[in-house]
Amino acid sequence: MKVLVGIDDTDDIDSMGTGEFADILAKTVEKRDWGKCSRVTRHQLFVHSDIPYTSHNSSMCFVAELAETKLDDLITYAAEFLTQESAEGSDPGLCVAVIDKVSSPELLIEFGGKAKKIVVTKDEAYSLAEELGIHLSEHGGTGQGVIGALAGVGLRLTGNDGRFKGRHRIKPAGNIATVGEIIAQTNIEVVKAIDGTVLSADEPVLLGQKVKSVLLEHKCVLLVCPAENTSNEVKWETCAMKYLRKY
């Protein structure tokens, strides 16, 4: 069964980030043979003075293809892990949603969208989780992280939000790879120009310093921009951070 796992607010300014927590959880699921996990996505939430985030208010989410009998094990392990490992002074939250059993996924998606634009409350998060049959739990401090954890799950469910954590290593920066090579060597599924054009397999792409992908239409997508220096006749280059910030 497919399960979405969202976490938020596990860190403080000096500790390991929430993304690392998500990575460790996903790796543990696989090491214990409970299932297979996708890469972690980062979802930007609303930045406002009323929200006590550490530095950037983003939550992390991954998909686990789990054996049916392992759901309770996952929840128990994740809960203990967050309780024990989250930074002192943090407010960790955990959300686990079995995708096919969410009673009204559109409400979960709506909640995720709201959390990008306005301040939402813990009460709203808990009410919605209960209504939809989703696990939501807090593991320290104020437990404020349940909001981001639930929102992250809702946003991942859209298939159209977030950047994948980490970078893709294909060739060193400044080298050229074809779309076919990029797809063969990574879990990137589509290479797309920022205007939406899908590039063909033989199209060459100039690789930048950090090759990062985004979640679009439920796929891992590498976005490319028109190359600034066309002297070597390569039309496309991987997008710089200024284009990826909005994802």
Binding site: I13, V47, S49, S55, H56, G166, K210, M241
Partner: protein
């Protein structure tokens, strides 16, 4: 150096007792100022890769101690330059 300091102070505003960098980071001059502050800062530590704002590494926007706000960002180390 003095001009840089003056330019820097123009972009720093105190809001509810906390100093914020309130420049427009899409503006080249404002972004450049965030780089100058980062380069001069004794407390600069680069943030985790997934929170990097710019390929220009040494800028407040890439620092572990910057905290994004709806007007720009504040600094956990209070901009110690």
């Amino acid at each position: 150096m003095k001009k840089n300091k003056v330019d820097m102070l123009k972009r720093l505003k105190v809001i509810d007792g906390i100093t914020h960098f309130c420049g427009d980071l899409e503006n080249e001059a404002d972004f450049k100022m965030s780089c100058l502050i980062g380069q001069a800062c004794p407390s600069f530590i680069v943030d985790v890769e997934d929170e990097i704002y710019s390929e220009e590494e040494r800028t407040c926007t890439n620092c572990r101690f910057r905290r994004w706000t709806n007007t720009g960002f504040s600094c956990y180390k209070r901009f110690p330059v």
